[in-house]
């Protein structure tokens, strides 16, 4: 087991190095840089000497990769000194910029997951138990619709619906608050802001989990021990909830864990719709400003979370099933 974990940890290294190189080169292939965006972006004349000075102060005049003191060593070297550098746009430390938004993104990810689980598990079970009936078809159509409906459009529709219904019922239109308040400070205000994007993303994200629950349940329900339980005369409810569900949940938990990892960084479009100041929005902004330093750290954060989640899931599987360890 110990050997397996070490092996998997070592396998993470080439993936992370590859991701770092890929992101680095992709960003450097963009014509222009943050200095030009900042100084010439307004359409006014920018002094080339001033741009050069700015590039020099940010280290953008250094060679790209080859050499000891390059832009790439600046980027990767930061990981060994635990210094992620400063945003090229605001000049503040990147850890500060990320920390400011991380809470919101994390809370959104958790809430969306809760919504997804609350939808996926009951629907998946019903769909499997009533296989090939109209209930099954309805659930499957509902879950496929979840993948099909763009979450940003669902977001616009939710906002629109809120406006129309509050207008009709309360007499004046109501919109979710725009500024983020910590849930500890004002839980009600916090919830009234974040519940809507959480529903929009949670529904989408429940689709895969519903299908996974359904297929896992179908497999388990055909097992001998379920037949034995039925033959014993156990109540169907007990069989499903205690005997079948527990064994079907493993792949479902995996899918949920992996999607959770993606949610933290992958909320790009939803945050745009609800005007939330999270990591996704920060990413879009930093790409727009050509803020290389911030963009590459954000991407690496998402990649790291994803790779690490995958590792934890694999190790968990190997712990449960010794055959995986030796293959």
């Amino acid at each position: 087991m110990y050997k397996y974990v070490v092996k998997r940890l070592l396998m993470m290294i080439p993936t992370l190095i590859g991701a770092a190189v890929l992101v680095f080169l992709l960003l450097r292939a963009i014509p222009g840089d943050v200095c030009e965006v900042r100084l010439a972006g307004t359409g006014l004349y920018a002094d080339p000497a001033e741009i050069e000075l700015c590039q020099k102060s940010l280290g953008l005049d250094k060679p790209l990769i080859l050499g000891l003191d390059t832009q790439f060593t600046d980027f990767v070297g930061g990981y060994f000194t635990f210094d992620l550098g400063e945003s090229m746009w605001t000049g503040k430390p990147i850890t500060y910029e990320i920390g400011l938004r991380f809470k919101l993104s994390l809370q959104m990810a958790i809430m969306a997951t809760v919504v997804a689980v609350a939808i996926a598990i009951p629907l998946g079970i019903i769909s499997a138990v009533k296989q090939d009936t109209w209930i099954d078809y309805a659930v499957r159509a509902f879950s496929i619709a979840g993948i099909a409906i763009p979450s940003f459009w669902l977001g616009i529709m939710i906002i629109l619906g809120l406006l129309i219904f509050t207008q009709a019922w309360l007499g004046e239109p109501w919109m979710p608050p725009i500024d983020y308040v910590s849930p500890l400070e004002d839980p009600w205000r916090n919830l009234s802001q974040l519940i809507w994007p959480a529903v929009a993303t949670g529904y989408r994200y429940s689709a895969v989990a519903t299908r996974m629950t359904r297929s896992a349940m179908l497999e388990v329900l055909r097992e001998d021990y379920v037949r034995t339980a039925r033959a014993k005369g156990l109540m169907e409810k007990v069989i499903i909830n205690h005997h079948a569900l527990k064994n079907a949940l493993l792949p479902v938990v995996t899918i949920i864990a992996i999607e959770f990892a993606f949610l933290i960084g992958g909320l790009v479009v939803t945050e745009q719709v609800f005007n939330l100041n999270g990591l996704g929005k920060l990413f879009v902004e930093s790409v727009g400003n050509q803020d290389f330093a911030l963009t590459q750290q954000l991407v690496m954060l998402v990649v790291l979370v994803f790779v690490f989640t995958n590792l934890v899931v694999d190790v968990f599987y190997a712990w449960l099933d010794p055959r995986i360890r030796y293959s």
Partner: protein, 298 residues
């Protein structure tokens, strides 16, 4: 070799047709969702192909005197902030969506097919290195990789296609590789090698046809995914640019601004995107059930 005689028997033909229709009806009964999906897909293709015949107006011509009209007899789905007919732009948008969808899906899935089979066939160090490279690409959320590529190449339809295709290749390669691994063990591959066929020929002629099931399944799923991704990128302003009619673009800017006073502007394009992706996903699911008995009931 004697050529078999060909009979033209009108009765037999009729019977054949009936059985074909019967088969189709049977398929609809067994796969009602898949049949519904196929219907949406066909409707969309017809819409895209005959866009200039069906649509009543010009999709790109602004007519400010007709700005933001509510749905009425002349403009069934209303008009947008430039006075353009929304229905017309939806019909032409199907062209953009299908073009992007099919191009990305075809190139992505085919690239994945070749890489996946090659990876399984050669094995060893080649496989190991290729898999690590795939790992790198798979570690990015689809939208973030696509955004990064668009940021590099710039906006516009070709660059959107490239941005969406790149993340598809490793996804398909991984699935194809796992089926190709089991095929490699079948003796006919050894036989082909013993005959002295080139590696390329064995990969393309002997192995690739046997992984068609996962390939086709990935292909149809990719079409839906590509349509959705294109819409997301266009919505963020990083995809297809005005005045080209594209569904995601129709949701951008004005659509949100006028949502309250002119809800038809954001509603219809969103329905079009959802319906299209829904259709392709249902179709892909049914295809999976038909082609891959092992995956049935998943």
């Amino acid at each position: 070799m004697a050529t078999p005689e060909v009979y033209i028997d009108s009765e037999g033909l009729a019977e054949d047709q009936r059985s074909l229709l019967g088969k189709l009806a049977g398929l609809c009964r067994r796969q009602p969702l898949g049949a519904a999906g196929a219907l949406v897909v066909i409707a969309m293709i017809v819409m895209a192909v005959f866009a200039n015949l069906i649509s009543p107006y010009d999709p790109e011509l602004a007519a400010f005197e007709n700005m933001l009209q509510a749905p009425n007899a002349d403009y069934w789905f209303g008009t947008d902030q430039f006075g353009r007919d929304i229905l017309t732009r939806l019909i032409y948008g199907a062209r953009t969506a299908l073009f992007v969808g099919f191009t990305c899906a075809f190139i992505g899935a085919t690239g994945g097919l070749v890489l996946g089979v090659a990876s399984a066939y050669f094995g060893g160090r080649f496989d190991l290195i290729l898999q690590r490279i795939m790992d790198v690409f798979m570690a990015f959320p689809l939208i973030i990789l696509a955004l990064a590529v668009v940021a590099t190449l710039g906006t516009g339809i070709q660059n959107v296609i490239i941005a969406i295709t790149i993340p598809f290749i490793p996804q398909c390669a991984r699935v194809v590789r796992s089926s190709a691994l089991s095929i490699r063990e079948i003796p006919y591959v050894d036989a082909a090698r013993a005959c002295g066929f080139s590696d390329l020929r064995i990969i393309l002629r002997h192995m690739a046809p046997n992984v068609m099931a996962p390939y086709l399944i990935m292909l149809t799923t990719f079409v839906g995914q590509a349509i959705l991704l294109e819409a997301s990128l266009s919505y963020l302003g990083l995809g297809v640019q005005e005045p080209t009619p594209a569904w995601g673009l129709m949701l951008q800017g004005g659509a949100e601004e006028y949502a309250e006073s002119a809800p038809w502007v954001p509603i219809f394009p969103g329905i079009a995107i959802s319906l299209a992706v829904f259709g392709f996903n249902l179709f892909g699911d049914a295809l999976r059930d038909l082609l891959d008995p092992k995956l049935r009931n998943r």
